[in-house]
Symmetry: C2
DNA sequence: TTCTTGACTTGGATCCTGTCCATCGTAGGA
DNA sequence: TCCTACGATGGACAGGATCCAAGTCAAGAA
């Protein structure tokens, strides 16, 4: 996933130090950070970066399809850099941590036409809920 | 679902005019209102009702299992009075409206043990995303 | 290299959702 | 009818996210 910056440049993204830092923070590990956590990590390398810029950049990465937005608890949205490999989420109802899971079983049943109410479907999200070992 | 009030009374719920109005608003139709929308509708009948009361009452209805909390977009949570019949949600990415759907296909594959990371599972949520006819 | 310009960043105000708390009111049993 | 514990009130508060006017700068043009 370290070619994220290259892909962005290819698409004509104007590369600023702020955007680079945000992209690199997300690129680092596959945890699911909140916007504020991204801002905190980015600020370690670029202390003047503003929250608005982090929000803007995250929004752009989402609309470019490079990052997934995950809102699991009605609190802060989280950002998942693992957007190119379909997967699902396992969320702890206690502490809110998220794990990516890749069920090997039968694929999801598609929604039958008579249940679509005229919607044009774009995707399905599956969220497993439970308690992590620490919270149980 | 019009026996909601009866069920609540049975459970020893202290019945106040505020709680009655909130329950009746939810009981009305199977749309998925935000807390603020519930408050607005309740205030049409009981103008002095406060937001805190609506939040309290909704929270109690959720913990009684009479209403489901749905958070699909990281914005306002929505409340689904259709808590007694398992179903899934179809969400418009444009306007945020939610429809209940009842896929008839194969049930969801359960999460295999090696993918649970020690979590004790409590449930699965499935959310279909797309654009409604009006937003498409 | 320097210039130019429109896209990007800043930070503070503002909005929205939701919670908290001290005080007041009242449902329902005695 | 009276009591009292439970519920309602509303205003303060907190966190997440967005908006905006002003300043800055990346990158193409000359």
């Amino acid at each position: 996933m370290s070619d994220l910056l290259a892909r962005l440049r290819e698409r004509g993204w104007r590369m600023t130090s702020q955007r680079r830092v945000v992209a690199e923070v997300l690129d680092g590990d596959h945890v699911h950070l909140t916007a504020d956590e991204v801002h905190a990590r980015a600020a370690q390398r670029l202390p003047e970066i503003s929250r608005a810029t982090v929000y803007n950049t995250l929004g752009e990465l989402v609309s470019l399809g490079e990052v997934m937005e995950v809102s699991t608890d009605g609190r802060a949205r989280r950002y998942d850099p693992n957007a190119h490999h379909p997967h699902q989420h396992l969320v702890c109802s206690g502490c809110g941590t998220i794990r990516d899971v890749h069920p090997t079983g039968s694929p999801l049943a598609d929604l039958p036409a008579e249940e679509r109410f005229g919607f044009t479907l774009s995707g399905v999200e599956v969220t497993y809920r439970g308690l992590c070992p620490a919270c149980a």
